[in-house]
Symmetry: C2
Subunit: 723 residues, 2 copies
Amino acid sequence: MLPRGRPRALGAAALLLLLLLIGFFLFGGDLEYERPRGAAALDGDPPADRGGHNLSDCVPPRPRPLPPKCELLHVAIVCAGHNSSRDLNTLVKSVLFYRKNPLHFHLVTDAVARNILEMLFHTWMVPAVGVSFYDLEELKPQVSWIPNKHYSGLYGLMKLVLPGALPPDLARVIVLDTDVTFASDIAELWALFAHFSDKQVIGLVENQSDWYLGNLWRNHRPWPALGRGFNTGVILLRLDRLRQAGWGQMWKLTATRELLTLPATSLADQDIFNAVIKEHPGLVQPLPCVWNVQLSDHTLAERCYSEASDLKVIHWNSPKKLRVKNKHVEYFRNLYLTFLEYDGNLLRRELFGCPSPPPPGTEQLQRALAQLDEEDACFEFRQQQLTVHRVHISFLPHEPLPPRPHDVTLVAQLSMDRLQMLEALCRHWPGPMSLALYLTDAEAQQFLRFVEASAVLSARQDVAYHVVYRKGPLYPVNELRNVALAQALTPYVFLSDIDFLPAYSLYDYLRASIEQLKLDSERKVALVVPAFETLHYRFSFPSSKAELLALLDSGSLYTFRYHEWPRGHAPTDYARWREAQTPYRVQWAADYEPYVVVPRDCPRYDPRFVGFGWNKVAHIVELDAQEYELLVLPEAFTIHLPHAPSLDISRFRSSPAYRDCLQALKDEFHQDLSRHYGAAALKYLTALQWLPAASPLPPPHLGSHAPCRHWSSLATHPTLPAI
Amino acid sequence: MLPRGRPRALGAAALLLLLLLIGFFLFGGDLEYERPRGAAALDGDPPADRGGHNLSDCVPPRPRPLPPKCELLHVAIVCAGHNSSRDLNTLVKSVLFYRKNPLHFHLVTDAVARNILEMLFHTWMVPAVGVSFYDLEELKPQVSWIPNKHYSGLYGLMKLVLPGALPPDLARVIVLDTDVTFASDIAELWALFAHFSDKQVIGLVENQSDWYLGNLWRNHRPWPALGRGFNTGVILLRLDRLRQAGWGQMWKLTATRELLTLPATSLADQDIFNAVIKEHPGLVQPLPCVWNVQLSDHTLAERCYSEASDLKVIHWNSPKKLRVKNKHVEYFRNLYLTFLEYDGNLLRRELFGCPSPPPPGTEQLQRALAQLDEEDACFEFRQQQLTVHRVHISFLPHEPLPPRPHDVTLVAQLSMDRLQMLEALCRHWPGPMSLALYLTDAEAQQFLRFVEASAVLSARQDVAYHVVYRKGPLYPVNELRNVALAQALTPYVFLSDIDFLPAYSLYDYLRASIEQLKLDSERKVALVVPAFETLHYRFSFPSSKAELLALLDSGSLYTFRYHEWPRGHAPTDYARWREAQTPYRVQWAADYEPYVVVPRDCPRYDPRFVGFGWNKVAHIVELDAQEYELLVLPEAFTIHLPHAPSLDISRFRSSPAYRDCLQALKDEFHQDLSRHYGAAALKYLTALQWLPAASPLPPPHLGSHAPCRHWSSLATHPTLPAI
C-alpha cells in the first residue's frame, strides 16, 4: 500500500520516474545503436581522455531517425585512372545492393576515369541514381603545392577542396575512398548527420592504428592529431557549415603552418584533416567505428566489432589490399568478392515506393519491350536487340601513343572462350588494338588475372579492352563491334575478327599503303585484306605472300570459307590477288563480307544482327550504299585459325527457327535500307533475289552474282563436319 | 496558467498521459515493425472480420526481441528429386547470406535428394551449419492416403507430419518450401516465436489470393479456411505444443471429415492446415505478410509492401515460377538471380562472435593451409591441392537404367569451353555417362539452359552431370575425374577425356568384349582403347576400323599425340593393333597414358595433379603397381578432336616455373609410391631415370623405353605451332 498524506511528493516522484523511463525509451535503443551489439570502442573500455578530448562524450544521446523515406542522399568520390575506376565500380555495387534511397554520386575524376564512368553509368541505367562529374585537373592547383608521400598521390588530397568544388547549394555529402566496401544501407550512415551538434561539420571514424600516437619507429613524427586521430576513408561533410566557417582558408593555414616543420604529408588529406581537428576539436563528430573498419597492417579494427552484423563499411586501406593479414580477412574478402563478382545488371531494380525519374531512355525501352510478343518465334532476338548492355570501356590501363596520321587500330570482339587468341594476336599485330569483350562481372575478374599473368599482354599499353557485361542469350556481335570501333583513336581501323591472325607485316604495310595511296579520312575507301584459313591446328604462319601462296598450292591453306560459304569472299578475286602488284578495285556483290580497313568514322554495324549470321555482310552493304570504294591490297593477308564452333553457330546450324529469324532480320534490314537510300538500294534487293536464302550449307555451285573462283587446284575437299 | 485547486485531478491526468506515452514508446516501434513502414494489410484498411476472425487483432502488441545472440535456429525443408535439390541450394544460399546465427537444417528427403544434398553440405563446409536427414519414404504412408491434386504431389503434404518426424526434443522449427527466397536475416523470422500466446502453435502468413474465398469460377469449392486462409510456404511451428495438443490426430480427423464431401486437396498440406485452423482459430499466430510475399498469378501481394525494404521472404508459388507476371517481378527476379548465381564458396565465412564447432575436417585443412609458404614457387599448386570444392552431384534429372552385368559408363570431365562436345559425345556413346563439370554457380545455370535448349541432351536420362564448383586458379583435373568415377553406377567404366569421340560401335563392342572375355569385376584388367587424333576441324568420322586405317594411311588421322608426345601411347603398339584380331596384352612403360576400361572399383586418380600434365600417367602407374593386366582391344578406337589449347596447357608451355612444380609433384608421387608398394615401385623410378624430364617439346627421337613406332608412312609432319 502507498502511504497516504504525501500525494504531491509522490506525484512528483512518479513524474520524475516516468520522465526517466520516457528518456530511456526515447534514447535507450539508439544508444545501443551507436555502439552496436557487443561493439566496443577501440580500447574495449570507455576511451580515456586522449589529447584532452574524450571520444565517448562525442556520441550525442539523440534518437536515430533513418532519413525520411525517399530522401536523396549525396555521395562524393575522388577517382582517377583505370584501376580506381574498377574499384569504384565495385564500391558502387556494394552501395546499390543495400540502398533503399535515391542516390546522387558526385565524382571528381581525371579525364580517363570520367570517360570510363560516364559510359558505365550511362549504360548501367540504374533507377534513382544520378551522377555529376567534376574535373580533377581544374581542382589540382588548389592542392598541388602540398608535398605528399602517400600512395594515393594528389588524389587523396582532393577531398580537402570538396566544399568549394561541389554545388554551392549542396549542404551535406558522404565522402568515400574508392577502396571501401559497404556491408549495410548507406542511409544508416547518412542518418548520423542528425547527431551533429550545431558546431560540428565533419563526421569521422577514429583511426584504427597507432600511427598518430607517434614513436612507431625512431624519428617517426606523424602530423598532429587528437589521440589516434581520425581516418578519412569515410567522411560526413556538412558542406554548408564548412563554407560558412571558411574551410578553404582554415585547412590551408593549418597545412602551411605544419609544413614549416614537417617535410610533407604522409597520409595525404588525412594528415591535414587531423591537424585542423586537433586545432578545432569542436568541428568533429566522431562516428561509430563500424562505419570504417580499417584493414591496414597492424590494424586495431578487431577491437571495434565482435560479430559480423556489426560491420557496416570495410576499408581496404593497406597498399596490400586483399592480401592484407588479418584475423577475419577471409570474411572481409568474401564480402568484397561478393560485390566484385556481382552481376551489376541485377542492380537495375527500381526503388518502388520512391517515385523518381527513370534513367534516360528507360521509358521508351520499357514500352518497346512491353510491345514484344512472347509467343513470337523470334522473341529472343527482339529482346536481345533491345537489351542495353553495361559497358566498361578501358577496363585495364591503356596508354595510347599520340595519334599518327596513317595509324590503324585493329578492332575485334571476343568472349572468354577466345582469350587464348590474345597473345598470338599481340605477336602478329604490334599496333594499337581496340577489343570489346563480352563477359560477366565475374569473368571480367578472370580476364584481369589472365592479362596480369601474361608477360606478352602486360607489356602492351596500346591495347584497349572494353568490357560489355553479358545480358541475354544471344551474342550481340555487332553491338560489341560498335563499342570497340567507337573507342579506336587512330584515323583508320582494321575491322577484324578474333579468330584471325594478320600477317606479321600487315600493320606496317597498311600504314605504308595508306600513305602511298594518299588516302585521307575524307575519302570513302575500304582497303580489303584478303582472308584465308587453315583447318589445321598446328601450322607455321607464312611470313610472306610467296610462302602463303605455296601453302595454298600445297593444300595447307584455303581461301576463307572456301568449303561452306565461298561467296562471302569470292568478290575479293583471289586469282587476281595472286598476281597483283598494285591495289585493285573490286565490286560489291551479294553476301560479300571482306575484312577491311576504313576511316574511323565509317558507318556503324547494324546492332539488330545478334547471334550468328549476316552481321558483317550488312555492314559491307552499308559501306557500298555509302559509295565506299573497295580496294584490295596485293600484299595484305589474314588467316583464320580453326576453333570449336561457337554455341551460336551450333544453334544456327541445328535450328530452322533460328535461321527463319535471321531471314526476318535480313528482310527488315533491306526495308530500312530502301527507306534510307531509296532507289539506289534496289540493287541489294535484286541481288538477294538471285540468291538462295541463307542456309547452313550453301549449294556447291553458285550463280554469276557470286562467282566462285578458286584456283588452288591441289586443295582437297574434306567432307562437311560429321559432328 | 493552470487553474489551481485541482492538483490531484491534474496529477492523475498527467499520469494517464504519461502512461499512454510510455505505452506508445514501448510498443509503437514494434507495431511499426509488425506492419512495416508503409505496409498495409491485404485490403489496405484494417481487415474486416472475416469468418468471425479479425486478423488485425492477432498481432500481439509485444516488444520484438531478436533471438539471443548465437542461438541455434532450426529450419525444416521437404525436398525430393533433382530439381528441388537445385532449388534448395538457392534457398539455402539466400538464408546463409543474411544469417548471423548458427543454423540447423532438418531435411526430409527422398533418396535422390539425400544423395545430392549430403554431398553438397559435406563439401560446402559452412561454419555453424548443421544438417540432419529424414527419410521421406518412411513418412509417406502417413499422408499417402490423402487424395491430392497439387503440383507438389505428396511432398507438400509431408509438412503435416513434421511434429512426429523431427526429434522429440526439438521445440521450434521454421518450415520452408523450396521455392522461397530470403531477403533478410532468418533470425528476424525466428524472433516472431516470441509473439505466440500460450495457446498458439502455428505461425502463418495470410494467403495473398482470393482462392479460399471461393467462387473464383463455377463449382469452385475450396477447402474451409478463415477468410483468405493462410499460406504454408513459410511456417513457424511450436513442435512441443503441437505434440502435446495431439496434432497427429487433430489434422487427420479434420482431413478425414472434409474428405467426406471434398474429393481431394487442391493445395496439398495448405488445405488441411487451413481446415484445422478454421476449426481451432486459437492455434494460429498470423505473421506479417512480408514474411511470405506470394507471387502466384493474380496475387494480391502488392498490397502487402510499399517498398523494397519491406520484403523479407519471396515465395515463387506459381507453377510458372520466374515467368510469373507481376508489377515488381523484375525486382523479385533480380533478388532470386542474385542467389541463384551467387558463389556459394563465399558463404564459407565463419560466424565470428559465435563460437561453434568447425565443420569436419576444417581444422586439419586450416592447419595445412597455414603451413604453406606463400613464397614457395609452387604455392598455387599446393593451395589448389588443399582446396575443397563444393560438389553438386546429379545436377540435372538422371534416371539410370537398372544395372546390367557388363555395362560400361563413360567417365569424363569438362568446363564451359567444352560444352559443345556434349551433343557429339551423346551421338557417339549411347550408353550411360558420368561427367564432372567444373563451373561457377553462374555457369551452372548457363549449363542448365544449354542442356534444356538441346533436344539431343534433353532426351538422355542416362547421362549424369556432376557440378564441381570452381575455386582456385588451377583446373583440378584428377579431383574432377574422381567425382565422376565415384558416381558411375555400372560395373565397368571407360575413363575418357571430353575432347575424344569414341567409335560409334564402342559402347556395344566394350560390353560384348567384357562378356566374351568372361571378365568379372574381381579380375584386375584394364582394356585399352587405342587413341587417335585428327588435326582437322572437319572430318568424317570413320565408321569402322577399316575406314580408320584408310584415314591413317592417307594422313588424315594420326595416332594420338604422334607429334608432341608419342611415348604417351606408344606401348599400345599401333602396328600390332593394325593386324590384331583378338585382344593382346601389352606392358606398362614410362609415361604410358592409354584410355582404359576398368572395373568401377579401380584405384582413384591422384588429386595432387592439378592443372596440366602427368595426371593420367600417374593413374596408369597406379594400375600397374596394383598389377592390372593391360589388354588392347582390336576393334576399339577413340579419336581426339582438335581444340584451342586450354589456359592450363598454355601456362605449362610458357612457364618454366609451372613445369618445375609439375616435376616436384612427380617426385613426391614417386616417393609415396615407394612408401606404398616398396621395392615393387622401384621400376617406376628406374624407368623415369631413363627418360628426360617432362618438357613441353619432347626430343624428336626417344630411347627404347618409349619406342616410337609409327607406321603411317604418308603422314606429314607439320611444324610445331607457330602460335
